[in-house]
Every structure is written in C-alpha cells, then in structure tokens.
Symmetry: C2
Subunit: 105 residues, 2 copies
C-alpha cells in the first residue's frame, strides 16, 4: 500500500496542492498520471493522499529522471489542466532523500 | 493554507502512513503535535493530508533541528502511541529540498 523504495539516496517530488471547487475529470487524470509516471525511467514509487490539501510524493532514481517526466507531453497537458481547473495553488519541491525509516506492524 | 517556506535549501520530513482501524485520540494528537512542532527551533511549516494513506510533510532549517524534534519527550510519546494504536505501517524520509516552484491562482 505504501511506496516501497530502495535504500537512499534517491529523489522525491513533493507536490502539495489546494484544490479548487471544480474537480471535473480530476480523479481520472490522477489515475492516468500515476500509471504514466510508473512507466517512466527511474520511477521508484508514489504515495498520494487525496483531500484538501492534496499531497502526492513520487520517488525517482535521479534528478534527470524527474526532469524527463516533468517535460513529457501528457504530463504537461495535465499540469495545464491542473492550473486552469483543479488547483487554486500548489507547491512542487524537489528533494534528495538522505535517510529513511520504516515501521510495519 | 499551504506551508510557506523560504528559498531552498532546507529540509523535509516526509511521513507517509497506513492508518489502522483504531483512530481513538488520533485527531487530538495530530493537532497537539502540529502545535508543538511549530514551537521548535528551525520549524518552517507543515502540510498534512489526512486519509489513508496519511501524508504529513514538515519543513525545517537544518537536520539538527529535525533530530531535536524527533527526540523531544512529547513527540516520542506520540510516536509510541502511533505504533501501538493508529498506524499499521509508516515510512519516514528525511530529505534536503533543493528546488521549489509555486503556483497561485
């Protein structure tokens, strides 16, 4: 259920967003983007918590993999729609994961 | 509504968790921990998306600030209760934020 990532270091894209009142087509686009991202080179996993705010964190092998995903055509179209319709505000942070700890019951 | 952080670099604690069926006392503890964290040295902000998974990302000036918060007594008590009651699994990742982009409508 939670993303299973390898031993650090690797990279994270932290996306936090304030959703707008108009969420038409949003769920379908999220599912499509998760599927597309998972086919990209260097994709390691993703966790997404829906709600307001929404937080989605995707994990990647390298910064180059993140740049490639960021510039893919379908992803750019989703970003455009996100700005026009679904989000009042968002913040994207690119971070290098240095340490990780797990707990499992 | 979303955390307002300074220009990078700074540090992020990415907490992703699979919640258990027992959430007694959980909301109160989250509110208390957010309040306590915001009084710590080096605290820059926090975003939390409730749901299953839950994702909470807090932002800090330095890795030392994160270690201090991690070892504070009240926080350790909350971590203990989290493991015993509220979470089936969680992952904590410490990351250095290198770049950030904002969108605001």
């Amino acid at each position: 259920m939670l993303a299973k990532t390898p031993k650090p270091p690797y990279y994270a894209v932290i996306f936090s967003a304030a959703q707008s009142a108009n969420l038409d087509g949003y769920d379908d686009m999220v599912a499509k983007m998760v599927e597309l991202a998972s086919q990209q080179n260097g994709f390691l996993g993703v966790d997404s918590a829906q709600g307001n705010p929404e937080i989605t964190v995707s994990y990647w092998k390298s910064e180059e993999d993140i740049l490639n995903w960021r510039s893919s055509i379908e992803h750019q179209e989703a970003q455009k729609q996100g700005k026009e319709s679904w989000y009042d505000a968002f913040e994207i942070r690119i971070a290098k994961v240095a340490r990780a700890y797990s707990f499992q019951k």
